[in-house]
Point group: D2
Chain length 299, copies 4
């Protein structure tokens, strides 16, 4: 099949290679012309603008957006809508909020454009060699683009999840689980590190990756990380986040679901962004007030 790819960052470029590897034709565009050149080297047809990208596609056109969530998605959609026609298909493969996807699908449906929200997991490696896709949108139209997902995914690695928004909803919750799993693994290693034992963490991660109840891709990645830096001495423990974990917690609040572990994983990430905390100052000050306990002075 032929597909246009807008956004050739870490994920987009790998997807392009994945598609070409499976004999699909890809027209590639990015604001960054260097990335377009890289895509062309991989066998994609370069496009110098969204107009040219759309022009190079057959009807009904299939366009995949792989751009950062938020306003950038809206501006790409805005630039595309005058160029697309009824029956064309637009796929958001990024990490958009599912409510945005629902709204966008409804807006584009008015023009007859079929919008799909395709949550994409598996990291860069998955994008390249076979990833995981959770797709929301019109079921009948989906069957037409299903071969693309079948090729890009590992076996059993794609799911038509339901109506618009369901794909990004699943991806959001997936990331919430990911936060919890990562924090679980990380706390385990913190206990090891503070224990009196002297473990080789790469060995530990390896044995836990093979045959154990907690074997998982994340544990294999943990092994990789320790193989490069046995005590992670070169890495600061600053845990950034890109939104989906926060959305999962917000959704849990909205539907009154108990999600203490996902929430705590997120709060520990926020905590890691602060060198010192105001709540810590308040508690230290209070201990001094009632018990005369010494406080450490700020420099």
């Amino acid at each position: 099949m032929k597909i246009g790819m807008i956004g050739l960052g870490k994920m987009g470029l790998n997807l392009v290679q994945n598609l070409i590897h499976h004999q699909h034709q890809v027209v590639a565009y990015d604001l960054n012309t260097e990335l377009v050149a890289q895509a062309a080297e991989c066998g994609a047809e370069a496009a110098a603008s969204t107009e040219l990208l759309v022009a190079k596609l057959d009807k009904p056109r299939i366009v995949w957006m792989m751009v950062p969530a938020g306003k950038i998605v809206d501006s790409v959609i805005e630039s595309l809508t005058p160029l697309l026609e009824s029956g064309d298909i637009l796929i958001d493969g990024g990490n958009s909020h599912y409510k945005d996807s629902i709204a966008r699908a409804a807006r584009l449906a008015e023009q007859g454009i079929h919008y799909f929200d395709a949550g994409t997991s598996g990291g860069m490696e998955g994008a390249h060699n076979g990833g995981c896709f959770m797709i929301g949108g019109n079921r009948d139209v989906f069957s037409g683009i299903e071969p693309l997902f079948k090729d890009m995914a590992v076996e059993n690695g794609y799911l038509y999840a339901g109506e618009s928004g369901s794909g990004h909803f699943l991806k959001m919750v997936h990331n919430g689980i990911e936060y919890g799993m990562m924090q679980s693994i990380a706390e385990g290693f913190e206990v090891l590190e503070k224990s009196a034992f002297d473990f080789n963490y790469e060995d530990v991660a390896r044995v836990w990756s093979n045959g154990s109840v907690i074997r998982s891709w994340l544990m294999e990645l943990t092994q990789n990380a320790f193989s490069k830096d046995p005590k992670l001495e070169g890495i600061k423990g600053v845990m950034k986040s890109s939104g989906e974990g926060k959305w999962t917690v917000e959704t849990a609040l909205e539907v009154q679901a108990s999600a203490p572990v996902i929430a705590m994983s997120l709060f520990m990430r926020y905590r890691s962004l602060d060198q010192d905390t105001f709540h810590g100052k308040v508690v230290a000050a209070l201990r001094n007030e009632f018990g005369g306990h010494a406080v450490e002075k700020s420099e």
Copy 2:
């Protein structure tokens, strides 16, 4: 090699089969004679008592205990110590507390008996087909029994972890991570269940098991569970626990390690054991006191 197995429960019997499958000779004993008969059917040599089990082994003898943690381990050790000799090897493959294992190893060392703590993971399936083993004890003596672990484990699925106690310490922390991972997955599905979407959970667990960042054995087991009962309607959400998660939290407290996620996973398990809670009654009563908010009456 030839090995005695004491304890033929869910894990022990599967280990027996695993060992026999790898051409080892197993002498099997359990208080439950039916289980001994089952082991014999699998090709093990039946023993009617620990005395007879020890008598059937070659020196230096190798005995594997696969019995519940706590006093039972101590009573098995007590019955074995008069029978074993200097140079013999005793392995605790169960979920003993690592401090107990350190103490037992020290006590048995006085008699020249080599004690190993071998944390075993992988569930019944792992015990049968290839599991994961974390072993603490004397390194030199370990090399003599290493072939057993090599055969019982999947590839890269065993680790000589260090001195006595290190094997059970790793297993303890492994289970702490397991608690966190399970609770993470479970919270994700709770958010799905309370959402407005109508997901097929078996499908979701399947797609998350293939190519995603959170692919893991636990996610595959989640898929299995949903394949049998699509909404888990037949199962009550009572989450029991057998101690290792608690020990992990206690250890975190002891070494002052941040382990909020493992701790919350445990507290949600305890919470699930109560139909109603006293803390809930206090909060409900307080809301009524200051704000006149209605309380629900107990029947």
Copy 3:
């Protein structure tokens, strides 16, 4: 001074009595005519409609709304705006979201109406005998209505907090702290209840209310509650919530503040609303899958 009170529920009626006790004149209105009659008995001037209420006030008019947060506030404002004039003052004493208050203040400012968000704490008793007020809005205009707050509050019990929204923001965070304090107290009593000791909880709450570090109004209310029902046997531990705790957590997420304790207090409330949980079912099913642990069957 003369003030109109719209909303004569648990809080509103007590405020009316408080104001009248301090020699203010109150015109009172509620959809529920019985409540209007009660206010009249307390010395308020009854109004049969918002129109009549406004008509009975002197310019610049002062109107206090004490109605449930959300759409009801908007509909009261909608009914009032045609009746009010530039220079009039409208106070929202309820638990509105601070962002709503900022928006409402801006909208009403276009008509010259001064809008104040007045977070009110202290429960019904405080409303009646002297409460706590956190007020956001125009500082200069505030000085004109300050005497009302001075009279309604206990000493030092009101604060001009700053621009519009700051009053309700403080009240929101106040309630977040309240959730955490209540859960802390409640967990303490849960530990007592599950201990081997046999405490008299009223006595415990009394001693903790007098001279201890944790002495607080909430502890006194705990004493009250136990004095009526020594083991709270008549109360179900269902912990409802009315929104401010949730908003506090959402705000913490928004500003990336570590608020694990307030968040956990909220999640335990949500947990208490469910008889059984889906996350519990998933964990129970997983334990059965890998370890053969028995599950409890749902009826």
Copy 4:
């Protein structure tokens, strides 16, 4: 009455003054002779050793220990036991673990010495002007020393809690609640600090101390702290702890009580002791592994 006081630190010296103020006679001893001199200046009779202290008391003797928990209590008891006689009374006013107190009471009972565990709350100010006492031990003997507690406590500020250990158990749980309350207050101020508003925290703590639902001694102390340092800029947010919070969590684990908020309060304290965390390094490394997210380098 006449009483011996061993330990004249922050709490002990204030208790001495409190007792003398209420016309009791105090014999005071501490290893630090300067503190003994200070006690003498306050009107106590100085003792140069425990022997001399005991010698100056009337039978049945009453001795109050106000020393750090743990081995120091044991060594003081060891030095006292040969000096005391059947019928004498020994009170541990410190923060000992309740299980230690139960064991000590049992041991001393063999000699006929009555041991009381007296949890003391209220900080230095309470010790001086009237504090809060929770006392475990023999009920009949207690009535003989009750006047001391009546005088040292604020009104309703002491409680005979029950058998040995119950006093320190209550104090332990009291401190667990204290941790939760402090963290709740602290998180609230963290949300204020990170908000777009510009609050005066002393003012906020003052208004919350007067008439609000969360009014409490801790909030008054918060006001004091902010009055000295409006943004707590001079204080580092390092939150130390002295054991009782940890014991509360351990007890919650033991009795399977849900105590997420007290536990999280403790974990945030531990977190504050680390400049960087190993769990943070692991999560940061994992994000880099699967998503190519940049890590911050350690210096």
